[in-house]
């Protein structure tokens, strides 16, 4: 990858979300009682590329030359609606979308990136999301800076504790735009201070030791 570009990467499944096209579908008591009962404590529509795209659009309108350095690389099961969304926001030259890679190739591709993208959901009411995407751990393995966008969650806490995370609220895009500006001017702003103790504790060697303990304690019982 060219060194003057800021490559932001994401590999995996990614839905398309556009608030202008999303209608709030109400659920009647009848439907809830007899047809569809959903656990509705988290807004997972936020878990998309929309807010990153939007921030790049704003950045582009403010500093087009600098913004041309930003490349968002998405691969995997990417909803084709994201291509249309990039067109709609006028950032097609900043977005590259490609197909599914094998696990090994996926890791290689992630390793080529300057920063790894982590869209997260937002808890509704008092709830916060308990979901920690598996890719957080892949990102930890690579010890790359993580660009996380979303609400308060266990995943957010984990990436901040890992020392790799740059977290932005999805409804405060100004901060994200400023950050993009900063890293495009000087890539050293992407330097991270990895928490090696935490990261090492997430290796499957350590986790398998725990599973062995579980079996041994079962044996005692």
């Amino acid at each position: 990858m060219a060194t003057n570009l800021i490559n932001i990467g994401y590999g995996g499944w990614l839905q398309c979300y556009d608030p202008e096209d999303s209608a709030d579908i109400g659920t009647s008591w009848f439907k809830k009682a007899f047809l569809d009962y959903r656990i509705d404590n988290v807004d997972h529509s936020i878990r998309s590329a929309y807010f990153l795209f939007k921030a790049v659009q704003i950045f582009k309108s403010e500093a087009p030359e600098l913004a041309s350095k930003v490349r968002i690389n998405l691969w995997g099961k990417i909803d084709p609606g994201n291509i249309k969304l990039a067109e709609k926001l006028g950032i097609t030259e900043n977005v590259k979308i490609s197909g599914l890679l094998s696990k090994t190739e996926n890791l290689k591709q992630l390793d080529k990136m300057n920063m790894l993208f982590l869209p997260m959901e937002v808890g509704k009411n008092e709830d916060k999301s308990l979901f920690i995407p598996g890719k957080v751990y892949e990102y930890m393995l690579l010890r790359k800076p993580i660009l996380a966008i979303g609400g308060d969650s266990d995943a957010k806490q984990l990436i901040l504790d890992s020392g790799l995370g740059f977290h932005f609220e999805h409804d405060k895009l100004d901060a994200l735009v400023k950050f993009l500006h900063k890293i495009c001017i000087d890539q050293s702003n992407l330097e991270v201070n990895a928490n090696e103790d935490l990261i090492n504790s997430k290796s499957f060697d350590k986790l398998t030791d725990k599973l062995v303990e579980v079996f041994k304690n079962c044996k005692v019982n």
Binding site: K32, A33, F34, L35, D36, Y37, R38, I39, D40, N41, V42, H44, L100, S102, K103, T104, E105, E121, S129, L130, F131, I132, G134, V136, Y137, E138, M140, L141, D154, K202, S203, F204, D205, K206, L207, T208, D209, K210, L211, V212, V214, F215, N217, C218, K219, N221
Partner: protein, 216 residues
Amino acid sequence: MEKVLFVCYFFAPQNDTGTFRSVNFVKRLPQRGFQPVVFTTDEPSILKNGGKIDHTIAKDIPVDIEIVRFEDINKSYSFWSKIKLYRLPWTFCFRKHMDIYAGWSRSIVEPAVEKIKIENIKFIYVSCAPVSAAYSAIKIKKKSGASLVVDFRDPYTDAYGSYFPGKFNFNKANSIEREIIEQSDTVVVNTEEVKKLFTRKYPHCKSKFEVITNGY
């Protein structure tokens, strides 16, 4: 070497987020004195269900690991989904059709019991979802006497993505979850917060909950 029956519908070569945790445990357990015997599905079933195949996932699995593959026939699901009426058995016979893997989960019970008896296996580890696999594992445990470890990769009735055919069946799902937790010897969850959640819901089982996070 102690043998462990690993029941994991999602396993190599299926490229699914549910695959990697089981694969990583299976790769490493033999070095720690436990030999997994894996019960999973086969490649044609993965493809039939729209899954993706990635053979690189299996590349470090020791060759002496026994992997027993069962076809996910699920005739009942195929029939009802073909006539676009899967909602009927799902709604009116939820325990039998709790998820689309329920047929596969039922089909492994007898072979699993037999395997446990022949190979003198002491432990059953179930990777959950699918929840139907954990539900079947209760039967395997009862028939074989082996200890049961259920690994909830995500919460079931409290997971944001979960969706049930009506409130009535949501209550049934809760009772299935309760049964799985009460009948297991150990319940593994993947975050401290999920452990707190389960401890609040099932305080009488709090000593069973263990946290093993995801990893790399």
